[in-house]
Every structure is written in structure tokens, then in C-alpha cells.
Subunit: 641 residues, 2 copies
């Protein structure tokens, strides 16, 4: 599944296409007048804010920089009525403005009432938020925001820009939206469970040793963890406070001789306590309430020798406690340690992908048999797929909203079928299915594009160009530690040849029974200076695509593991790497224009399909999925030029 952050440039077709294709009625906008009035009162109430605010910013964020938000954190959706995943609201006494990108222009227009002005991000005529504030506010204005919801790296330039125009940006610790959100969902407090060593592969104590060794290199006496997947990885525990992400609300501070977990006491069950004691194996730790993080950090800073390592993307509320003189504002050491899977995690990831392949074979076989009934829809199909995944060992749920999309819906890159948009899966157009599972041994993410009837030549040509790019990237050999950005054009070249392309990145990191999108690596046109480059033991997606607006979408997505390449030479002792595909689901040969493939590509495809038979076949057999196995054999018949 595509990471939200690297999609760009495509047109806002979602609502328009839904209408055209499903001819459902648009929604009624959410009334926001009352809550906006109350919020504006709060902005002026000096019992609630340090000083009266001329503007209040409501980001889409939680205190942990999470990609997905828990219900209780969807404050921007509540205050504005707009439910899309990306957007920022700014409220003054006279204005209520909502910035969002092209994907959501129509949806926002429909969902927001007349109190709101849509600020179309990405259009040259739309001012950026800070610029708009500078243009709109009288000199000397005060802008407030919950400092838990902006990262340090976002806060600082925003503040600079406001200050250079004579305004102030101030932290307002009491969240004003919460004060006017009467039926706000409570913070999730779902159970936390240990992840046994047979899945994690490395004890807390051993991870601690590695982390402290890196802290030592930076002369850091404290390391503050705020990202939920980093904490879950470090503690070998999993939760379910955020949908699809097996994480739990918490903070951690690691010192030189002890570490402290900040977590709701209700989650600290005897089972968790026993797990921590066993795995910490003599290392000292404390449990404190989730809300004590700031006071504890302040206390620890008071008599500190050495520096404090806190990621530049940690929230400003915590980050600002650490003076820049002693701060190491870099990615935590955990980010890279987590990206490079250990041998147990590698085995688990590979195993999870075999089980996942079995579930997908069952689903596609079932679909092929039943699609002609006309009764299976995008949603009921996705549900069936989840049922098949549920039959697999250690399945814990989907790793993201299944993108089950028919015809033109496939061209909406982040399509998720809703009751309003749901349509039957048909045999006269392309079906794109992007889905993944959370298993205790690994996380999966796979996209296959199928046609249950007869694809057009144009569809086949586009599919084949996407496939050639996917093979080219997947079989490439490259020096160790180069950034994925450097390989992205390999996946696009066959589309470029005829003037085609796709408006999203080609690969994202993936967690081991953790978040389906995981930094710090990626394969895309973007470069980030924090990207450490590709290395052995990392897993990344390989998912080029092509989208014909209003007509169809094609994407082929595998998860690949980075492994050493066996090369004759080794220039400058850099070490050369390649990918090994761990996704084992047939790629529909019906969609291929075999004449466009080289002999090497044909051999690659046949080899891959043979591996699907060899590895997934026995599991299907063992599980008694006879029809799925037959489907697998049919779909993996060798092709020849």
C-alpha cells in the first residue's frame, strides 16, 4: 500500500468518479457553527489560554507523530466536518480555513458547511498557512497551537516566519478542541500483550545494550522515545490503540542505568510486568503514568550530565523542554535498528508472506469462481479476503484499509470502498486489490491487478510496462547504502518510453508486525537527508503502477528483502546488494503482452511462478484449499515467447 506522504500531483477525482460510477447522492455537510462559536470563545478566555489568541491551529496529528490517528485524536475532522486523512484547520474570529491537498478538494467541499473556507493546497494561488496568517492578522497577533501536535521541526520555521512578520506563535497545552468536543471518544486503552522472543528475536536487554552503545557515541545520557512503533519494538510488546497499527499509547525515557515507561496503569498487567522483568533481565526500569512524561523529563533534565537525544520530529511540547545546547535532534538509534530486521524477524516476515499468499490464492480463486454472480462487491470481497486471512496462523487483523477497487475506482490511488461508493466486482473491467495482514510473525502488504474477463490491448500494454519496471527494480544490483531514490527510475523507464508515468513513490519500508509504513528508507523521487540508504536485512515494497483516470488502475506490489548480491567484483569494498521478493502471489499472465517481454523477463516470471507453486502450494494442500491450489497452478502456467 502506498505511503500517504509520497503521493503527489494527481487530480482530485475521488468524489467526481464516485458519483459518475456509483451515482449515489452526495453527503450533507456537517454543521459546525455551534462548536466554532464555542472554540472562538475559548480562544479569548484567559482562564484557558496564556493570552488571547487571534488564531488557533488544529493539525491532523497526535502526540506521537503517528500516520494513522485514533478516534480521540481526530480533532481536525471534528472541528471542520472534513474527514479526509490530511488537512489543517486554522480558526480566527473571522475566518475558519481548512488546508488540504488535491485528493480531497471535492470531498472537503461537500463535507464542510458554509462557515469554512477551503484552502486548496498545491495551487499556485493558495497561500501557505504561515503566509496566510501573516497576510490576514494585524501586526502583533498571537497564534496558538497545541504543542503536542506539531513536531519540533515543523514548529521552528513556522515560528520564525510568524515572528519575522511581528506575530507570536505560542504553545497552548490545553487542547481547545477537546473543550468543545462534547462526545469526544475516550482515549483507547486496549490491552497490551508481550511479543515472545520467538517472534521478536532479540530481548529488551540486548536491544538496550545496542541503544546505549549508540547513546554513548553521541554523549547522550538520555534518549526520549515518542514514536509508538519504536516503543513497541524496543519493549517487544504490541497493542491496538490505533487501528491497523499494533501499537499502544506510551512514552519511554532511556537513561544510562534505567529506563522509564509512561503508560496507562491499566495496561500494566501482571503478564506485561512478568514479560518486562524477564526480558530486561536485571536492567532497572520504572513504570509511570502516561501523563507524567513532561514532569519526569523536567526532573531528569534538572541534574543531568551529558546530552539528550530526542528526534527532531518529536512533538514540540516535549522537545522544547530540551535546550538546544544539550539536544541531539536526530532520528533515534531505534529507527535504523528497527528497519534492519534480525534473523528471527526475517524468518517471520518471510513466513507471514507465505501464509498471506495462501489467503490471497483462496480469495482470488473464490472470486474468479463467483464474480459472475454479480453479487460480490468491493466491500464484500474485501470482507471475504479478511476471512481467508483469518484462517492463517497468528493473524491479528488487516495492516490497513483494503483497497478493493473496480474499474475507475482503481485509478483513485487511495480508494477505500464505502457504502456510498461500493459496486459489484465485474468481469468487464480491471480489479485492483491492495491489502495486507498483521501476523504475529510479520506484516504484509501486497497488490495484484486482475481481469476476470478480457483486458484490452491498452490495458495489457500498460500492465506489461508496469511489470517490466517492477522486474527491473526487483532484480537490480546496486552498491550498499545508496538511497532508494537512486533506483526509482528503474521502475519507471518502460512507462516513460511512451510518455506515461505514475504520481506516487515506488517503495516504502515495512515493519515486522508493526506499522505497514516504516521509515527511514524509501524508493521515490523524493530525497530526505535522514535517509541512511539501503542495507542488508531491510524490507521494502516494490510497487510501480499506472492509472488511467476514469477508467482503470494498475499496480503490482511485492515486498522485497534486501540481500547481498553475488558479484564478481567489489568496487571500493562497498558491497553490492540486490532484492529477494518475499511476496509469493501469482501475477496474472492474462494481463501480460508476452511479445513486449524479453527472454530474461519471461524466465524471471516463470521462475517466480514456479516458486509460488513450490512454496505456497504445500501450504494450500496442507490446509485443504483444493480450489485455491488449482487456481494457483492455473495462474502459474509458464508463459513463452
Amino acid at each position: 500500500m502506498l505511503s500517504q506522504r509520497y503521493i503527489s500531483g494527481f487530480k482530485s477525482l475521488r468524489i467526481k468518479l464516485l458519483r459518475t460510477f456509483s451515482s449515489k447522492m452526495p453527503k450533507v455537510a456537517t454543521a459546525t457553527g455551534n462548536q466554532l462559536k464555542r472554540l472562538r470563545d475559548c480562544m479569548l478566555d484567559t482562564k484557558l489560554v496564556p493570552q488571547p489568541l487571534h488564531a488557533y491551529i488544529v493539525p491532523s496529528a497526535d502526540s506521537h507523530g503517528s500516520e494513522y490517528l485514533a478516534e480521540c485524536d481526530k480533532r481536525r475532522a471534528f472541528i471542520s466536518g472534513f474527514t479526509g486523512s490530511a488537512g489543517t484547520a486554522i480558526i480566527t474570529q473571522d475566518h475558519a480555513c481548512l488546508w488540504t491537498d488535491g485528493r480531497y478538494f471535492l470531498q472537503a467541499t461537500e463535507e464542510m458547511d458554509t462557515h469554512w473556507t477551503l484552502m486548496r493546497e498545491g495551487l499556485p494561488t493558495t497561500p501557505k498557512q504561515a503566509t496566510w496568517l501573516c497576510q490576514t492578522l494585524s501586526t502583533g497577533s498571537v497564534v496558538g497551537v497545541d504543542p503536542n501536535l506539531l513536531s519540533y521541526n515543523t514548529w521552528m520555521p513556522f515560528k520564525d516566519q510568524l515572528e519575522s512578520a511581528g506575530h507570536k506563535l505560542i504553545p497552548v497545552e490545553k487542547n481547545l478542541v477537546d473543550l468543545v468536543w462534547d462526545d469526544k471518544p475516550s482515549v483507547a486503552c486496549n490491552p497490551v500483550v508481550p511479543l515472545p522472543l520467538k517472534f521478536s528475536g532479540k530481548s529488551i536487554k540486548d536491544k538496550l545494550t545496542d541503544i546505549r552503545s549508540q547513546m554513548h557515541e553521541k554523549n547522550a545520557s538520555l534518549l526520549v522515545l515518542t514514536f509508538l512503533d519504536e516503543i513497541a519494538w524496543f519493549l517487544n510488546m504490541r497493542g491496538s490503540d490505533i487501528e491497523y497499527n499494533p501499537v499502544f499509547f506510551s512514552f519511554v525515557i532511556i537513561g544510562e542505568k534505567e529506563f522509564t515507561i509512561f503508560i496507562d496503569a491499566k495496561k500494566f498487567t501482571p503478564e506485561v510486568e512478568a514479560h518486562l522483568k524477564t526480558e530486561a533481565d536485571g536492567e532497572k526500569f520504572h513504570i509511570k503514568d502516561y501523563n507524567q512524561i513532561k514532569t519526569t523529563l523536567k526532573d531528569q533534565l534538572a541534574d543531568l550530565q551529558g546530552r539528550v537525544w530526542i528526534c527532531q520530529d518529536a512533538n514540540y511540547s516535549l522537545s522544547s523542554l530540551v535546550s538546544s545546547k544539550i539536544a541531539v535532534r536526530e532520528n533515534t538509534p531505534i529507527q535504523l535498528m528497527k528497519a534492519i530486521k534480525n534473523p528471527v524477524e526475517i524468518q517471520g516476515m518471510r513466513n507471514a508472506h507465505i501464509k498471506d499468499a495462501a489467503a490471497l490464492c483462496c480469495y482470488f480463486a473464490w472470486l474468479e469462481k463467483n464474480v459472475s454472480s454479480g453479487q460480490i462487491t468491493e466491500i464484500s470481497g474485501a470482507d471475504k479476503l479478511e476471512q481467508f486471512r483469518g484462517m492463517q496462523e497468528d493473524f491479528r487483523g488487516p495492516s490497513f484499509d483494503t483497497i478493493s477497487s473496480v474499474g475507475p475506482h482503481g485509478a483513485i490511488i487511495h480508494y477505500k470502498p464505502t457504502k456510498d461508493s461500493d459496486v459489484p466486482i465485474r468481469s468487464d473491467c480491471i480489479y485492483l486489490c491492495d491489502s495486507g495482514g498483521q501476523y504475529r510473525d510479520g506484516t504484509t502488504d501486497v497488490t495484484r491487478t486482475l481481469h476476470f474477463g478480457t483486458p484490452t490491448d491498452y490495458e495489457k500494454e500498460c500492465f506489461t510496462r508496469v511489470l517490466k519496471g517492477q522486474i527491473k527494480l526487483g532484480t537490480s544490483i546496486f552498491p550498499s547504502k545508496i538511497r532508494g531514490n537512486y533506483l526509482d527510475s528503474f521502475a519507471r523507464q518502460y512507462l516513460w518510453e511512451v510518455g506515461l508515468d505514475y504520481s506516487h513513490g515506488t517503495g516504502h519500508g515495512i515493519g515486522a508486525y508493526l506499522n505497514v509504513h516504516e521509515g527511514p528508507i524509501e524508493v521515490s523521487w523524493r530525497t530526505t537527508k535522514e535517509d541512511p540508504g539501503l542495507d542488508v536485512g531491510m524490507f521494502i515494497s516494490n510497487e510501480p503502477g499506472f492509472y488511467e483516470n476514469g477508467s482503470f488502475g494498475i499496480r503490482i506490489e511485492d515486498i522485497v528483502q534486501i540481500v547481498p548480491a553475488q558479484t564478481k567484483h567489489n568496487f571500493n569494498n562497498r558491497g553490492f546488494l540486490t532484492f529477494e521478493t518475499v511476496t509469493l502471489v501469482p501475477i496474472q499472465t492474462k494481463m501480460m503482452m508476452v511479445d513486449m517481454l524479453t527472454t530474461a523477463e519471461v524466465e524471471h516470471i516463470n521462475g517466480y511462478h514456479q516458486k509460488c507453486r513450490d512454496v505456497v502450494g504445500p501450504l494450500l494442500e496442507k490446509q485443504g484449499h483444493k480450489e485455491a491450489k488449482e487456481w494457483l497452478w492455473r495462474e502459474t502456467e509458464p508463459i513463452c515467447k
Copy 2:
């Protein structure tokens, strides 16, 4: 020829190899004791410096950010004795340190006397200059530097780092090295000549209109030009104040209603005056002395409405006159205008490359015939090549030091034969020749790698892999305005396949009868945020290579023009581009392993060679170069699989 700034990672083999290969004696180090003592006295003399200096920095730079330095600007070489192209000296009362990179470790060791400490840049144990100053100086120290020799973008972080450690960085306008450099060469004051419209393609007045339109967009009332090639381009004039670069020392300030040229009065001949009057066509301009730039800029700033556009890389002395409140610190509009050649420049560039190809055919034919004599050396060969270029119309001189290198010398990426290193060109090893010419209609830069005997299979394999990459990049189709970085892996992939690579970028921009290295575009692993991406009308080099230390070097370099690609589709209306190779010199087929080439590659090579015959053949014929024409025909015999 490779741009200095994007070579990295290769070992310092220059001196070592020279010894091994030519067995000449090392040089004697330059005595610097006297001049260092005098410089240290100057540092403390408050008649010369605003306050006593604890450290003085001597960069390798001029006031214009030039890549090549005039003799009078080689201050760092004078003070330290080290003559390499890259390096920075820092002198305190107790220390004299010279920072340079791995290419020059041995050379610096040999050239510098015992007063100097070599700081080996790039080694993890070597502190960076500012860090070393912070570690070495007592708190409250004063560091001085000539502000004309550091760019604004270099100065600011340097100053921040020193200040955060309690020191000061101060500008010292009087250059202290000049005060102790008794036989300093005088500033070149070579004639300046107009470049007629038939070569420039666009009058000063028309350029001015475009420049002012971009100034207007930025609300800039003044534009300060400090880069010599930008000034030469704007004024349609050429000079020779710096070797190989047809530029002249000058500054320009463009206002809304007039522009001012700061230049030595001796250069302002009646011919230049007439040229300016004609081409300015009524636009008002003034001539002032070169040294009046600062006082004039101050005066103009005094009563200014609007902002001042000055490149972030302009020298600090000038840049600091412009307060950041009104400064537009971005690349000047000229940089991109100059990179996108106009139709006359395009025609000129293509024509220059045809003439250049004729000269190279003459040289290689002559070499092939005479190499067996054993009398032709790297230097005498290069001289002969210059003679052949000199026979071509409008030739003005080489565009850089010819890299004429035999065997292991070819593995030294920036090799230039000297009297000490010069060896005969032989038929038992590879000969790499990277050279270029300045013609009034264009600048050329071409590398060919030849063997006059029988290459080994390994040499042929490496050559063929380099060639395949060069063809792949040269024939690629890509969306308009993507950065060249994005295409770099195309050129490397066939080397990567077997664990090989090269430690330099793949392409640099090139001027039209201007500098052989020209920003802002490039094809390399680096990305710069100022890179505007590739666009129609740009020219860039395509020069992958491979270097086997101690043995041989291979590089194949063409200049390519960016042209629209004829694609069936046009995704998102981006426009798709490709390259057209304008260099027309045969690539030695003897060096190719034909079995490693695809049919398409063989056809491409044969097509290219046919074009060499068709275009260069008639010119050779016309010029009466019979042997060269025969050589051209022999070298362009079609190959077949």
C-alpha cells in the same frame, strides 16, 4: 571533462602512480618560513587589521566564485607551497594547517615544508576547519578572512559555529597574503572582445528585458552579478583573464532603468563601447572602475525601493552590504537563461562539435600512424591535438587542460601530464584522451578511450559496460524538469551488475563559448536544492567511466543536447524529453565485446557511426584531411553480432 566538485571517494594515487610509472624524482618542498613570519606579523598589526587576529584563513578562491583561478588569485598555493586545485590554509601564531582532500595527500606532503601540517579532509579523525579552530583557540579569539574570498553561504554557518564557541569571525578587507607576496603576478587585464549576434543569438537589450521581467516577479529593484560567466553571457563579450575560461574580471549591477559595468577602464575600448551602445539599443548603462563596486552598491542601496537580488553564493563582502530584510538570496535569473541555449547558440554548439570532431579525427589518425615510433608522449600528443584544433574556424584555445593519459595515468581521474610525469603513448596499453576546445560558436568537451594494440578481455568487458551505460543514459526518455540525479543509475547499471562503479558524476552542464563546467544542472548521485531539472535546449555531458587503479582508465564522454521526445502519450502534460548526442567522434569498436551488446545497442552504435561519416566526413574532405577521413571510415565500419 569531469567537474572537480563531483569527484569523490577515489584514492590518492596521483603521486604514487607517477613515481611507479615514470620513476622521476619527487619535488623539493617550497620554503615558506619567511612569508609565514611576515603574515603572522601582519595578523597582529592593527594598522592592517581591525583587531589582532588569532587565526587567518586563506581559501582557494577569487571574488567571483570561479572554478579556475587566475595566477594572481592563487594565494593559498603561494602561502603554503601546495599547488593542488583544492585546499584551505589556516594560520595561527603557532600553527599553519592545510586542509585538502584525498586526491592531494601525497602531493601536499611533498610540496609543503615542515612549517605546515596537512589536515587530511574526509578522514574521520580529521576535524573540520571550524571545529579545529574551536578546539585550538582560547575562548574569545578572533578569526579573520578576506570576505571577498568566501561566499555568503559559506560564511554564515562558519560564523555561527565560531560564535557559539565564543569566538568571532571578522572580515579583513585588506588581503594579508597579498602584503607578503612580493612577486605576486599582477591582475590580468587582457582585452575584452564583443561576441557578435551571429554567435550570441540575443542582444543585450533583449536579455535585459527578460532579466528585468524576472526581477519584477521577485520585487527586486537591483540585481547584482558577480559570476564572470554570467556577466560575459549578459554583455555578449568575452575575455581571457582566467585560463581556459573566456571571461573577464568585472561586476554588473542591473537596476530598473539602467545598468552599471564595473571593469578596468583599459578594457573599455572603443570597440567595446560601440558594441555596448549598439546592443543596449537605447538602454542606459554606465561604466565604472572594477574597484568601485562596493561604494556604488552602498550608494544605490541608500535610497532603494524594493529588494536586491544577489546570489547566495556571491562573496560575503558584497553580500553583507545587502541586509537580509531586502535580500533575495537565490541563483540569479541568468543562470537558468544561460543554461537553456537559444537557437543560435544551439546551432553554434552543434557546429563547434562538428569542427571539434574533425580535429579529433585528424589527431587520432595521426596518432595511430605514429604511435609505433615511441616518440609521441602524453604532452606532445596533447600539443598536436591543439594544433589540429587550431586549424578549425573560430578556434580560440582549449577549454581545459587536456587529459592525455597512458595506462595507469588514465586511472587518475584528474591527471594532467607534467614534465615529471610525461611518458610515451604506447600500443600495449589504453590511451584516455579528455579534451575540449573554445570556439566562438561553442565550447566542446569530449573523451575517447583507445587502444593502439590489442586490449585484454577484461579491458574490453569494462569498456563495453561503460559504453552500454552511456548508450542507456543517452537514449533514455524522461519527464521534463526531473533532476539529472534521477537518471544517473542508468549509466551505472551495467557496471553494478558485476560489482563495479566509478567515483565521479556522470554529467555536467556546459557553456556556449563559456565555461566548460556550468550549473545549475548535473547528472550525479548528488542532489542540490537549486537544481531546476532538465529542460529543452540544455547541453550536458554524458561521461560514465571505469578506473582500475594502477592499470588503466576508461571514459566515454559526449556532449548531449536535451530535445523533446516523440512519445505516444504525455502523462499529466508534463512533456517528455530525450538527449541528442552532438559529439561526433567514433567510439573505438576494437574495445567493444560485441557479444555483450543487444541488437538495439549494435544498431545504435552503427547509426551513430554512420552519422559521424555523414556529418564529419564532408568537412574532413573539404579541409583536405585525407588520412583522417580514411581513419574515420575505418573506425566506423558497422559491427554485427
